[in-house]
């Protein structure tokens, strides 16, 4: 057989979505493709999307699980708006994702499951591969399952087990098509299935067969090359937000010299942090899987009282349950980290989808005046730094801190430049060891005698002789900390607890505003995981020749000291959020600035193209000009089978 001649086309970026049944191993396939791309040196972002049900009815639309990976030869910020390539392992996978594809997109379909029964399950009355329905796309029908079963025949597996390796066949094919290095996947499969040699060999064989199929078939005549992205010097790895956050907590423990104590109750999408931390006992990390959310935070508060770094991890519904205990930590002024990996709400909501609608819960969701500092990461890798920052605030200011991640950051991944530990801040727990009030024989220990600069109270842990004291949820007398019902004292203590949190702003750097020309009239301000889509939208507007400034908040409470002045220096401030305008509400209340919200609550990240249009509209209004965002065509980098609509450019 002669090998068909293969063309090689250069692309600057590609978005691939793998879609199939929940049991088809799409998350694993996507994850492996991502690792290969990361090792190759592309910049990338990923968006896993899966149902809350572990195994929803097979072949149905609710059972579809997908994984989108965006990889490029330049710095990118999002997992991409619309896939260039869809790999659909069954009719439901095709149907559920078709609406997201732009004209001209490539579709690779496993034809094996396109039976009358499976078509009906997906809601098709006719086979879409046979009519004109897909005429706008470049469709490649391939019997992935059949070829997989044939390829692994020698291992004597049951037909069902053999067919299960089809995801590796698909991965092999895509790896060939995009010139991915295969060593890491082979090594991964070897390790993962070390105890079941038949399965191991079948998966590796399926993977290689997929590659070879691409090499030899005439179905695919083009290979694509996406060069490595230029990145700043350093050692990189691919990392998800939950993993980075877990590492950040361990780093917080190492930097403060405190044992980490995690009290947690399993909840999507935060459980992976519990799983990860439970592996790191060698760092002195204790993980306590509690009977409920309240016990999780209760145990963490107890551990903090005893001198550990108390942490609790959860999602929105869990925060609701923990609220009273967080109030106790506010009152007792103990360090505590509350990690909220936000998901769609209210109530049980959308457990596996992303949202940013817990900001006001974090801010105000407690009885009484109970201020809690809030820190939010902006990308998966940034979860590491955000966690270390939250630990710094919790320990330095003796306060619970809310760390607001979300489902997109938690499960999404990106290349992460591994930080040098020496660059991390040292965090001094500064335990009290001596009497701090009065002199000589009258000297006493006052648990609420505050540090003049930070207003933090002393942290005297049990086992310290002479400093025995009692704390609790009742109002404390200023200084001595005994129960006090005095009206003036209560007013003073309420204001002091607020002032302590406000003073954190004095320890923050000025807010970084990206305003390249310095005279933009429109500022886009975001927080959390919208950083990527906002940045990509802003780039698009700038690329089309318009001026726009961007800033992103890591600290939601307190705000940076210069935020008010910055907001007032722009004609228009756009605040995109995956909620109905929670940051907007806070900004309006605090600064009397008429910010403009852009709000979506679809359980999905915002789309860069949509944001670009919104920003463009505001720029037009503010500057009194016409705005046309159509980018100048760049034919060299745009292959024929790829839409010209480019969201991001280097």
């Amino acid at each position: 057989m002669t090998q068909p001649t293969k063309q090689v086309k250069q692309l600057d970026r590609v978005i691939i979505r793998f879609a199939g049944d929940s049991g088809d191993g799409m998350q694993l396939t996507g994850d492996r493709f991502t690792q290969e791309s990361a090792v190759f040196g592309n910049d990338l972002m990923t968006l896993p999307n899966f149902p809350a049900e572990i195994r929803a009815p097979q072949g149905t639309l609710p059972g579809v699980s997908s994984f989108q990976v965006h990889f490029a030869d330049h710095d990118i910020l999002t997992a991409g708006d619309a896939p260039d390539v869809l790999v659909a392992m069954n009719p439901a996978g095709l149907r559920a994702n078709l609406g997201d594809l732009p004209k001209g997109a490539t579709i690779i379909v496993d034809t094996h499951d396109f039976t009358a029964r499976n078509l009906a399950k997906a809601g098709y009355t006719a086979n879409p591969l046979e009519g004109d329905d897909l005429s706008e796309f470049a469709v490649h029908p391939v019997d992935l399952t059949g070829m997989t079963v044939a390829a692994v025949k020698e291992f004597g597996l049951s037909r069902k087990d053999a067919a299960r390796a089809k995801n590796m066949f698909a991965l092999g094919l895509l790896s060939w098509m995009y010139g991915r290095p295969t060593e890491s996947t082979t090594a991964f499969l070897t390790k993962r299935f070390a105890k079941v040699p038949d399965i191991r060999d079948a998966n590796i064989t399926a993977f290689k067969s997929g590659w070879n199929f691409g090499e030899t078939t005439e179905t695919f005549i083009v290979r694509y090359e996406i060069k490595p992205a230029p990145m700043s010097a350093g050692t990189y790895r691919n990392i998800t937000g939950n993993l980075a956050l877990a590492y950040g907590l361990i780093a917080g423990g190492v930097q403060s010299g405190l044992p980490v104590f995690l009290g947690s109750y399993p909840i999507t999408p935060a459980s992976d942090i519990l799983h990860e931390l439970s592996k790191h006992k060698s760092f002195g990390v204790t993980t306590f899987q509690a009977e409920d959310e309240i016990a999780g935070v209760g145990a963490a508060i107890g551990a903090s009282f005893a001198g550990s770094l108390g942490v609790t991890t959860t999602s929105g519904p869990g925060v609701a349950l923990k609220s009273e205990a967080i109030g106790l930590a506010v009152m007792t002024e103990l360090p505590l980290l509350v990690v909220d990996v936000q998901r769609g709400g209210p109530s049980t909501g959308l457990p596996t989808k992303t949202e940013q609608a817990d900001l006001l819960q974090a801010m105000f969701g407690r009885n009484g005046e109970a201020p809690v500092p809030i820190v939010a990461p902006q990308s998966p890798g940034d979860c590491f730094d955000a966690a270390v920052e939250a630990v710094r605030i919790a320990i330095t200011y003796r306060t619970p801190v809310m760390l607001l991640s979300d489902g997109y950051l938690a499960n999404g991944s990106e290349p992460w430049r591994i930080p040098d530990i020496a660059d991390l801040p040292a965090i001094d727990p500064d335990f009290a060891t001596e009497l701090n009030h009065g002199d000589g024989e009258d000297a006493e220990f006052w648990p609420y005698e505050r540090d003049a600069e930070t207003l933090a109270r002393p942290w005297a842990i049990p086992g310290t002789p002479g400093l025995e004291h009692r704390i609790g949820g009742l109002e404390k007398g200023d200084g001595h900390g005994n129960i006090s019902y005095d009206p003036g004292n209560h007013d003073f203590m309420v204001r002091t607890r607020q002032a302590k949190v406000d003073r954190i702003a004095d320890s923050l750097p000025p807010l970084a505003v990206d305003d390249p020309t310095g005279d933009a009239k429109v500022l886009v301000l975001g927080w959390g995981s919208t950083y990527g889509p906002i940045g990509a939208g802003v780039r698009r507007v700038r690329k089309a020749g318009y001026k726009v400034a961007q800033a992103h908040l890591r600290h939601l409470n307190p705000f940076p000291n210069d935020l008010g002045d910055i907001l007032k220096s722009y004609d228009k401030v756009l605040v995109p959020e995956m909620n109905l305008g929670q940051l907007s509400l806070l900004l309006r209340a605090k600064f009397l600035v008429d910010v403009i919200g852009y709000n979506e609550v679809r359980g999905l990240p915002l789309k860069a193209a949509v944001l670009a249009d919104v920003i463009g509209g505001l720029v037009a209004e503010a500057e009194g000009i016409e705005v046309d965002l159509t980018p100048a065509p760049t034919p060299a980098a745009t292959p024929a089978d790829k839409p010209a609509d480019k969201e991001e450019l280097a």
Binding site: Y236, S282, F283, F288, A295, G302, A306
Partner: protein, 372 residues
């Protein structure tokens, strides 16, 4: 993971409840009750049973010989939960029902602390019921003192989860239709390793039970009958009144026949407990009517809690005319906190290098690439 994915935990040896907690050094000034008394004014109602328990605890703590700074009292919400303020140890007056979870964090984080929980019938059995049963099943090394006055005191007189059916209170003007918990039965059902009941007014018995509870490694659960003179006065009169208490209290002493009631010529009770073959439970009999060999000999160390549970059922759920008092169960089993710490010790022993270099190693593990 499959259902058979378990591993041998390599259980640590069983130890005393206070092992690992630093003791007062020889030559130190001996600690007294005064050392454990804080400067805060005690604010319970006159005649409250809490005073007697506080006095007993202040008097008994020095006998443990533990360093004062290594003792922590945690409480929830309710009258009895003010307890920690009056003891000059470390303490936390926390939130309603959550003291066992907070104490679990303290006890797991620190082997060198003696951890005590003070709670009431509402705090422990109503709002905090979940935390209580899970602390008991985990067997975290702590002592839980449940002050049971069978009423809500701090909120001024509503019925509690131990109030008798039909009880007329502010919230039940036509009588309570709630069925009460029997705290001892509940603790035994949760497989608590140490379960006892005592009475606020019997200082000797109270102190003896507390000593045994402190010496026990694991969660020690002690129900203390405590009179509320304001909202439920006289709830325990039958077991306190000299005229009736001989018949009302069924004393449990490990290794001895369970006998009570009016004394015979040998000074032993004329009533006793025997197995009830028809129900599988236990019943009260006249000693004169049964063989001596049939009288139940109390075995608190029995691994099987069935008999202890059967005895616990002799507690009246209505007005209290009869109740077994003493240590129902005292068995040894591994504690959650010891095992959790042992896993950390094992993992740390296997690790090499300082934490900073190990952290650097951890975060750069897996597939990496270098850009120059």
């Amino acid at each position: 993971m499959t259902a058979d994915s378990t591993t041998d935990l390599g259980l640590p040896g069983l130890r005393s409840g206070t092992e690992g907690v630093p003791t007062v050094l020889e030559g130190d000034q001996p600690q007294t009750g005064k050392d454990f008394t804080s400067d805060q004014e005690v604010r319970w109602c006159p005649g409250c049973g809490d005073y007697a328990v506080l006095k007993a605890v202040q008097g008994f703590l020095p006998d443990l010989g533990l360093r004062r700074e290594n003792i922590v009292f945690v409480s929830g919400i309710g009258c009895s939960s003010r307890f920690p303020y009056y003891l000059d140890t470390y303490g936390m007056h926390s939130i309603h029902g959550r003291a066992p979870s907070i104490a679990t964090g303290i006890a797991t984080a620190r082997e060198d602390l003696s951890v005590w929980v003070v709670t009431g019938d509402g705090d422990a059995l109503s709002i905090g019921g979940n935390h209580l049963i899970h602390a008991l099943r985990r067997n975290v090394n702590m002592t839980i003192l449940l002050f049971n006055n069978r009423i809500y005191g701090l909120t001024k007189g509503q019925y509690s989860p131990t109030s008798e059916p039909g009880k007329v209170t502010k919230s039940t003007p036509m009588g309570s239709v709630d069925h009460p918990f029997n705290p001892v039965s509940l603790a035994l059902g949760a497989e608590a390793s140490f379960v006892a009941r005592t009475i606020d007014s019997d200082r000797k018995h109270l102190t003896a039970v507390l000593s045994a509870a402190a010496a026990h490694r694991g969660t020690s659960f002690v129900e203390i009958y405590q009179n509320c003179p304001i909202f439920n006065d006289g709830a325990f009169d039958a077991i306190k009144n000299p005229d009736t208490k001989a018949d009302a209290i069924i004393p449990l002493v490990h290794g001895e026949q369970v006998r009570f009631g009016a004394l015979d010529a040998d000074g032993r009770g004329t009533k006793a407990l025997t197995r009830d073959r028809s129900s599988g439970g236990v019943k009260v009999v006249e000693v004169s009517e049964v063989d001596d060999a049939d009288i139940l000999v109390h075995d608190a160390h029995n691994a099987d809690p069935s008999t202890a549970f059967a005895i616990s059922r002799l507690t009246d759920s209505g007005y209290l005319n009869q109740s077994p008092i003493g240590i129902f169960r005292q068995v040894e089993r591994p504690t959650y906190d010891d095992q959790a710490r042992a896993q950390i010790t094992t993992a740390q022993a296997a690790a090499t290098g300082d934490p900073t270099s190990r952290l650097a190693e951890l975060i750069s593990a897996g597939d990496t690439w270098t850009v120059v």
